[in-house]
C-alpha cells in the first residue's frame, strides 16, 4: 500500500517536473512584413533579413538608441594617427554556433569573404578596406586605402558580421542555407516563405541576457493579417504596424506599442540628369519648378493623411532629430502663392509630369496626395503606378520624371546620401552630378571629426537641397506591437529587433 502511494507521488512529481520543464520552454513568435532573402551576411540584401541577423549574427559593433557606435564582438578599437588603419581588440571567449573559436583569424576570414566572394553585397560598403592583418590571436588591424569615417557604422551592420570560417568554407555559396555565426541564437530551420526558426545558443558570450529559448520569424506581408494574428495570439510581436491601426491598438490593454523614428526617409526622386527625359519636362529642367513643387507640398498634411501622423516631417536625408541634420536649411512651409509665382517666373504656369510609383499602398497614397496638393499650385501630375521590378528598371534607365522612393537608411549619414548624390553612383537615379558636391561628399568620408563632418553636411545641404534631386518628405516611425507579457524590448532607429534582454513576464 505504502509503496504504491510512494510510486504515485513519484510519478506525480515527475509529471510536475515535466510540466514545469515544458513551461520553461519559451518561444517568441515574430511577424515580419516581408520574407527575408538569403541568410548569408555577405550576400544578404534586404532590410528584413537584417532583423533576423540581429538575433543570429553578432557584429563587431552595434548602434544604440542615439545612433552611437557601441562595441559588440569588438572590445575596444583605436584609429591610427593618419586615420588609415583601425585596430580592433576582440572580445575574449566568444564561440560560433558550431563551437569554433571567434578569433582574429576568423575576423580576417569574414572581412575578406565580404571583400572577395562573387556576388558580395558588402564589397561596396568596405571599398576602402585594403587588407586585414592579424596582430595577435585577439587583435586585428584593418588597413584602409584612405580614411573612411563611415567604417565603424558599416561594421555595425552586415559588413561587421563574423561567420564561422569552418562552416563557411564547407558550405561555400550555400552558407546562407545553414548560417553559422556568433549571435545569441543559432539557426534551426527555414521553410521558404513560411518560417525561420532559431534556438538559443547555450554558449553565447552574453548568455545571461538571453531569456527566450526559441524565436520563430513568420513573414506575413499583409499588415491587417499580421495584426489579426497578434490579436488572436498566434504571434507575440509584429513589426511595421500599419499607422491606421495605431489608434485601435492603443485602446487595447493586452498589447504594447512602441515607436521610434527611422534612420531612413521617404522622398520623391526627380530625374534631373539621368536621361533625356530630364530636359524634356519642366520639373527636371528648371530648379525653380522643383522649388515650386516642394512649396506646393504640405508635409504635415501628407504625414497626417498618408501616415496617420506616424512619421516625422523632414526635408533632408536625415531626420531633424539626427545629430547630422543641417539646421541651416529648415523645413520650408507650404506656400502655394510663392509656388505659383515661381512657376510664372519659369514661364510654365501648368507644368505637367509623370510621377512613377511602386504599387505598394504607402507609395500610392503619397502619389495621390502629392498629386492633389501640387494641383493647387498649377501642377498637372500624372501618376504611373508601376510594379516594383519594372519601376527599378525604368528608374535605372532614366525612364521617369519623378519617382516615389523610400530608403531604409544607414546609421552613418554617408549611407543616406553618398550613393544617391555622388556622380554615377548606383542609387543616383536622379542623375545628379556636381563636382563641388562630389568634393564635399568625399571630404565628409575622409574626415573622422564629428564637428567637422557636421559643417561639411551643412555645406552639402545648402547646395543639394536647393538643387532638389530628391524632395524629402518624412521619416516614418518604426511601429512595433507586442503582447504586454513581453518585456525588455529596445527600439533602435534602424528598426531591427534586438532580442537580447527580451523576456516573457
Amino acid at each position: 500500500m505504502k509503496s504504491s502511494w510512494r510510486r504515485a507521488l513519484a510519478s506525480l512529481g515527475l509529471a510536475l517536473a515535466l510540466a514545469a520543464g515544458a513551461h520553461a520552454q519559451t518561444t517568441l513568435r515574430i511577424g515580419l512584413a516581408e520574407d527575408p532573402d538569403v541568410l548569408d551576411p555577405t550576400l544578404a540584401r534586404s532590410f528584413v533579413g537584417r532583423i533576423v541577423f540581429s538575433a543570429l549574427c553578432d557584429k563587431l559593433f552595434d548602434i544604440d538608441e542615439k545612433l552611437a557606435i557601441v562595441p559588440q564582438l569588438a572590445q575596444s578599437y583605436q584609429w591610427a594617427p593618419d586615420n588609415k588603419a583601425l585596430t580592433i581588440r576582440l572580445r575574449p571567449g566568444v564561440t560560433f554556433h558550431d563551437g569554433e573559436k571567434l578569433d582574429a583569424a576568423a575576423v580576417k576570414y569574414s572581412l575578406e569573404r565580404h571583400k572577395t566572394m562573387p556576388g558580395s553585397n558588402r564589397r561596396g560598403e568596405l571599398a576602402p578596406l585594403a587588407s586585414v592583418d592579424v596582430v595577435d590571436p585577439m587583435t586585428v588591424r584593418l588597413n584602409l586605402s584612405a580614411p573612411f569615417s563611415p567604417l565603424l557604422a558599416q561594421l555595425a551592420d552586415r559588413a561587421g558580421m563574423i561567420v564561422s570560417p569552418k562552416a563557411a568554407q564547407a558550405e561555400g555559396d550555400k552558407f546562407g542555407a545553414h548560417p553559422v555565426c556568433a549571435g545569441p541564437y543559432k539557426f534551426v530551420e527555414r521553410i521558404a516563405q513560411d518560417r525561420i526558426v532559431l534556438e538559443r545558443y547555450a554558449n553565447y558570450w552574453n548568455k545571461d541576457a538571453v531569456h527566450i529559448d526559441r524565436i520563430v520569424y513568420l513573414p506575413i506581408p499583409d499588415s491587417t493579417v499580421r495584426l489579426a494574428n497578434l490579436r488572436s495570439g498566434q504571434l507575440d510581436f509584429i513589426e511595421r504596424v500599419a499607422p491606421s491601426d495605431v489608434a485601435q491598438l492603443k485602446g487595447d490593454a493586452r498589447f504594447k506599442l512602441t515607436k521610434i523614428t527611422e534612420i531612413g526617409y521617404q522622398g520623391i526622386t526627380i530625374n534631373v540628369g539621368k536621361s533625356e527625359r530630364a530636359t524634356q519636362n519642366p520639373l527636371g529642367r528648371d530648379p525653380r519648378v522643383r522649388e515650386a513643387f516642394e512649396l506646393a507640398l504640405d508635409r504635415d498634411g501628407i504625414v497626417q493623411v498618408v501616415m496617420d501622423g506616424e512619421a516625422d516631417v523632414g526635408n533632408q536625408w536625415v531626420a531633424p532629430t539626427n545629430p547630422f541634420y543641417a539646421k541651416n536649411v529648415p523645413i520650408p512651409k507650404r506656400n502655394v502663392e510663392r509656388a505659383k509665382a515661381l512657376l510664372k517666373e519659369a514661364g510654365v504656369a501648368n507644368p505637367s509630369f509623370t510621377l512613377m510609383t511602386p504599387t505598394t499602398a504607402d507609395a500610392q497614397r503619397i502619389a495621390q496626395v502629392v498629386q492633389a496638393m501640387a494641383r493647387e499650385a498649377g501642377f498637372d501630375v500624372k501618376i504611373q503606378s508601376t510594379e516594383f521590378a519594372t519601376s527599378l528598371d525604368q528608374a535605372d534607365k532614366g525612364q521617369f520624371d519623378a519617382y516615389v522612393l523610400a530608403w531604409s537608411g544607414r546609421a552613418d549619414p554617408d549611407g543616406n546620401i553618398f550613393s544617391f548624390d555622388a556622380c554615377k553612383q548606383p542609387l543616383n537615379y536622379a542623375g545628379y552630378c556636381k563636382p563641388d558636391v562630389d568634393e564635399l561628399l568625399k571630404r565628409s568620408r575622409t574626415t573622422l571629426d564629428t564637428n567637422e563632418r557636421r559643417t561639411l553636411y551643412a555645406d552639402l545641404a545648402a547646395v543639394v537641397l536647393k538643387d532638389r534631386p530628391i524632395v524629402y518628405l518624412y521619416h516614418r516611425h518604426w511601429l512595433w506591437a507586442y503582447t504586454n507579457k513581453l518585456d525588455g524590448l529596445r527600439p533602435i532607429p534602424d528598426g531591427l529587433v534586438r532580442v537580447t534582454g527580451v523576456r516573457f513576464k
Binding site: 491587417t224 485601435q248 498634411g301 499602398a361 500610392q364 496626395v369 508601376t386 521590378a389 519594372t390
Partner: protein, 299 residues
C-alpha cells in the same frame, strides 16, 4: 473562378452546339425576358451601364476629389458610402468604378472572341495538321494557370486598364478557340453544311456563311459568362496593382486599398465588393438564362 466557368461551358458546348444552333433562330430575347432571374440580371446590368454612362450626373462628388479633413469617415448623410483613405467619396468612386469594370468585362471578352473564334473556326473547319497544331497550342495555353498568364501579360504591357483588358482577353482566348473548334466540328457534320459544300461553295464561304452563324449561340452563352469572369479577373489584377491607375477608381483597386483598413474602415471594402458581386451575378444570371433559352431541352 474563370477556369470553372470555362470548363463548364466547354463540357456543355459539345453536346449543346447542334441543338442550340437550331433553337437560336426565334424569340431568344423574349424567352430570356420571361425568366425572372435572367430579367433581374438584365435589369441590373442595364442599371450599371446607365450609372456608368451617367456617372458625372449621378455621382454626388468628383470621384478623385480629395478632402484631407474627411479621411476614412464612416457612412453619413453627406457621404452615403463613407469616404476612403484620402477623403474621397466612396459612393462616387463606386459609380465611376462601374466604367472600369464594365469596360474590362466587355472589351476583354471582345478581344477573346475576335482572336479565338476565327482561329477555332479555322481549326475546326480545316482539320488535319493545322487543327492538330492549333489544338496543341490551345491545350498548352489552357494548361498554364489563367491568372499567371494574365499577370505576366499585364506586367509586360505595363499596368493600366487597357493593358489589363488586353491581358485578360488574350489569357481567356484559348477557351473560345476550343469552344469554336468544338462547335464547328459538330456543325460541320450537319446536313445543311454538307449540302452547301456539295454544291461547290468555296470553303471560306461555307465557314463564314453557314458554319459561323450556327455556332454563335453557344459562343454567346460563353461570352456572357466570360464577361463575369473577366470582371473578376480585372478586379484581381487591380488587386495586385496591375489594373486601373490611381487616382481613377476601379472596384478591384478600391478593394486592394480597402484591405489595409478592414479593421477601421470596413465600408471601404464592402461596397466595391458588393458591386462586383452584383454585376458578376447578373452576368451569370443572363448567361444561364441565355443557355436555357437557347436550349430546347429546357424550353
Amino acid at each position: 473562378m474563370t477556369a470553372i466557368v470555362e470548363l463548364e461551358a466547354v463540357a456543355d458546348a459539345r453536346a449543346e452546339a447542334a441543338q442550340a444552333a437550331r433553337a437560336a433562330r426565334s424569340g431568344v430575347f423574349a424567352r430570356l425576358a420571361r425568366r425572372p432571374a435572367a430579367a433581374f440580371g438584365l435589369a441590373v446590368i442595364v442599371l450599371f451601364v446607365a450609372l456608368a454612362i451617367a456617372a458625372p450626373l449621378v455621382a454626388p462628388y468628383d470621384p478623385i476629389a480629395t478632402s484631407f479633413s474627411a479621411v476614412r469617415k464612416a457612412p453619413s448623410a453627406a457621404h452615403w458610402f463613407g469616404t476612403d483613405e484620402i477623403g474621397r467619396d466612396v459612393l462616387s468612386r463606386v459609380i465611376f468604378g462601374a466604367r472600369a469594370s464594365l469596360a474590362a468585362g466587355v472589351v476583354s471578352v471582345l478581344i477573346s472572341l475576335s482572336i479565338g473564334v476565327p482561329i477555332g473556326l479555322f481549326a475546326g473547319y480545316a482539320g488535319g495538321t493545322i487543327d492538330m497544331l492549333i489544338s496543341r497550342v490551345t491545350d498548352a495555353l489552357l494548361a498554364c494557370p489563367f491568372l499567371i498568364l494574365a499577370i505576366a501579360l499585364a506586367a509586360f504591357l505595363g499596368p493600366n486598364l487597357v493593358n489589363a483588358m488586353i491581358a485578360i482577353g488574350i489569357s481567356a482566348t484559348p477557351v473560345f478557340v476550343r469552344l469554336a473548334r468544338g462547335t464547328t466540328l459538330a456543325v460541320k457534320a450537319e446536313e445543311f453544311v454538307l449540302a452547301a459544300r456539295a454544291i461547290g461553295n468555296a470553303p471560306w464561304r461555307v465557314a463564314f456563311r453557314h458554319v459561323l452563324p450556327n455556332i454563335v449561340p453557344p459562343l454567346l452563352v460563353q461570352a456572357t459568362l466570360a464577361i463575369a469572369a473577366a470582371i473578376i479577373a480585372e478586379a484581381s489584377l487591380s488587386f495586385l496593382g496591375l489594373g486601373e491607375q490611381p487616382p481613377q477608381p476601379s472596384w478591384g483597386s478600391m478593394l486592394n486599398t480597402a484591405k489595409n483598413y478592414i479593421d477601421n474602415a470596413p465600408w471601404m471594402a464592402l461596397w466595391p465588393g458588393l458591386s462586383i458581386f452584383l454585376l458578376v451575378l447578373s452576368f451569370n444570371l443572363v448567361g444561364d438564362g441565355l443557355r436555357d433559352a437557347l436550349d430546347p431541352r429546357h424550353a
